[in-house]
């Protein structure tokens, strides 16, 4: 996604940082000034400026914690503003996560703040870099999972390890997707889970980490420590701890608790990027899907539904994800309510759609809402439009009923 993100102080309009994604030249300073100026002007007349569209772009403003204003300028995809608002909230939560609410809401020394808030740049870029993401949690507000048959056995390993860490919060992550988590991890709010997963995928691989994090909902002012250990390449175990144990202490335990699970971890990793069990065979016209559970805040996404690439695969996996994301944005907030957004009550959407689809020359998409699940399926253009409904229903029930898919 090509976008400009601007962060300023709400009080004085002092620019804090800008991020430019998608090979865009930075916006000239006067433009930034005017964008902020018009928002402040409206504000001083008791008008809340939310968003505007130009011929080809959209601008959204949002103030957070009475302290910072975020402005995003991006191409207009005619989707509801809810998605960009969601993105801005995520950016702000990312700042809380790594910097703490206290210091964010009460900026004392602007120069120092400017310097120190850079700690969030990598995570913010990851959130803006939607085209490069392999996951969709940022969009669905539900955390991505990888549903491997090995998960049920690995759960015991994880529970034992987190107990050794003296913490109730632990999860096992593969490329930013949760394979398994402790019961308490699932009680984190969806935005916390999504953010922690995004944080993990934003960081470059290493053996272990000890990162102070402020959980935006659970503990925005008192930091926890996120300890992570790379068990094998691309598989990390994460725990949220208090002051103890130290990183070195817990790292010493890694071998003892996980060594015998080595082969399980290897085969878990094999399931990336398919993300769901090989035992499930989906309709050959399916190129990808996103399955969301709105209650448990988990989602499963795959753009590699068939083990062997067939000659029909004219659309590569990156493009598939792009289409699914844009289909999601196209229907959510317009035809279907985004339930967990406080800014937009359900009453704004007057009709209660259950299903929706689009059909193009190169592909078709179909979505079904069946509380608490919602599925978005991407098909090749070959599938007859009338068949999509039943295939989508069948796919949904196949996935939801599978014992390995804990969604």
């Amino acid at each position: 996604m090509a976008a400009h993100l601007i962060c300023l102080t709400s009080g004085g309009g002092v620019p804090i940082f800008t991020r430019n994604k998608g090979n865009l030249k930075p916006l000239p300073f006067p433009v930034i000034g005017s964008l902020n100026g018009v928002h402040m002007f409206a504000n001083s007349h008791d008008v809340k400026l939310l968003s505007t569209t130009t011929e080809d772009a959209k601008v959204v403003w949002k103030v957070f914690h009475d302290s910072i204003t975020l402005i995003i300028v991006t191409g207009d995809d005619s989707a509801d503003d809810i998605h960009l608002n969601n993105l801005l909230s995520q950016v702000c939560d990312a700042m809380v996560l790594l910097y703490g609410l206290e210091d964010l809401a009460n900026i004392k020394n602007i120069e120092r703040f400017k310097r120190e808030i850079k700690i969030c740049s990598q995570l913010i870029d990851k959130i803006l870099d939607q085209a490069d993401l392999l996951t969709v949690g940022d969009l669905t507000n539900a955390v991505d999972i990888i549903a491997a048959p090995e998960n049920s056995v690995l759960q015991n390993y994880l529970d034992a390890f987190t107990e050794a860490a003296d913490s109730p919060y632990g999860c096992l992550m593969v490329h930013g997707k949760i394979a398994i988590a402790t019961k308490r991890w699932w009680t984190l709010t969806s935005k916390e889970m999504v953010l922690l997963s995004l944080l993990m995928s934003s960081l470059s691989p290493c053996s272990s980490r000890d990162i102070p994090v402020f959980l935006p909902n659970l503990s925005p002012s008192v930091p926890h420590r996120l300890l992570t250990f790379q068990l094998i390449k691309d598989v990390d175990v994460c725990v949220l701890c208090g002051p103890s144990p130290t990183l070195a202490q817990l790292e010493e335990e890694v071998g003892r608790f996980w060594r015998s699970g080595y082969d399980l971890l290897r085969s878990l990793l094999q399931l990336h990027p398919r993300n769901y069990p090989l035992s499930i065979t989906l309709d050959s016209n399916i190129m990808g899907f996103i399955l969301v559970n709105r209650e448990s805040h988990r989602c499963l996404c795959s753009t590699h539904p068939h083990p062997v690439a067939s000659s029909k695969d004219t659309i590569d996996s990156k493009r598939r994800l792009e289409i699914l994301r844009s289909f999601y944005k196209h229907v959510m907030g317009t035809f279907f309510p985004m339930s967990d957004d406080p800014d937009k009550g359900q009453e704004e959407i007057c009709h209660q759609a259950q299903e929706s689809y689009i059909s193009t020359d190169s592909h078709k998409c179909y979505t079904i809402l069946s509380e608490p699940h919602q599925i978005f399926v991407l098909y090749t253009a070959n599938i007859p439009t009338f068949a999509m409904r039943s295939v989508t229903q069948k796919t949904l029930s196949l996935l939801v009923k599978d014992k390995h898919i804990q969604i």
């Binding site: 850079k118 700690i119 691989p205 053996s207 000890d210 990162i211 060594r259």
Partner: protein
């Protein structure tokens, strides 16, 4: 200071007898280091495995000098293209086979680099103790295109070490590919080395094209390992500080017994 090559065979990677050891830690054709998860180790082809010795190294220096990049280079990870301040502590591991010349013995060095960003270091009390606890060596990083980062070393050295501790101290000059903007002179470097008895190594953290310079990497790792091994010898009482093996200027021998009880 230790003279280069006095304990370790610096050309060992060129010998055929080391082929097995090196193929277990590098990707065969492009000579890049392999990375290992905590449950993984270099595969042993031969029936007996070399002794593994583990060291903890703390990487310090001003923000943006290239700590994370240096660690990435020394561990075979991808070197970051842009500066992103490291949040909290990040550790990375390298396995490096070495040969102790005197003993004609192979050793597998396992170096764990502890890298922490300045903001976290200042803001959270537990970071520095975690990094300095039982540390074997400290790498002081500065950038040759930023004189202030070089001047800052004095403060860093007194902050994290004392003259009579037994921590290996090595300084590393980054961005040596940018000679044109060099702000630290050869003379500065010489004076520093003489003053502190801390060697300065030079590094270029750049994404290498098709043929990475393996000799630069192996020299750096060998030097680091050699100092660590030397320290072990001193601690084991096999040589005295400034002993005959090495061209090191005599320093008062300092008993550090209290530290180990």
């Amino acid at each position: 200071m230790l003279s280069v090559g006095s304990l370790l065979d610096f050309d060992w990677h060129k010998h055929s007898e080391s082929r097995e050891a090196f193929s277990s830690v590098t990707h065969r054709h492009h000579h890049r280091l392999k990375t290992f998860g905590l449950l993984e180790k270099p595969a042993n082809v031969s029936p007996y495995s070399p002794e593994e010795v583990r060291y903890k190294l703390f990487v310090v220096g001003k923000t943006g000098v290239g700590k994370t990049s240096t660690v990435a280079k020394l561990t075979g990870n991808e070197i970051p293209k842009t500066h992103n301040e490291t949040a909290g502590i990040q550790t990375s591991t390298t396995y490096w086979p070495g040969k102790i010349t005197q003993l004609n013995k192979q050793v597998m060095f396992r170096l764990q680099f502890w890298d922490a960003g300045e903001t976290s270091l200042k803001k959270f009390d537990h970071i520095i103790p975690a990094c300095t606890e039982r540390v074997d060596g400290i790498l002081f990083i500065f950038s040759i295109v930023d004189k202030s980062s070089f001047d800052d070393l004095h403060q860093q050295i007194s902050r994290f070490t004392s003259t009579n501790d037994d921590i290996v101290k090595i300084a590393i000059a980054t961005k040596c590919d940018q000679h044109a903007h060099c702000e630290v002179t050869q003379r500065d470097i010489r004076d520093f080395e003489n003053n502190w008895k801390i060697p300065i190594l030079k590094i270029q953290n750049i994404q290498e094209s098709s043929q990475p310079d393996f000799s630069e990497l192996s020299r750096l790792l060998n030097i680091i390992c050699e100092y660590l091994w030397y320290r072990d010898l001193i601690l084991a009482g096999k040589v005295t500080k400034g002993g005959a093996v090495v061209g090191r200027r005599p320093q008062p021998p300092v008993p550090t017994v209290e530290k180990y009880v």
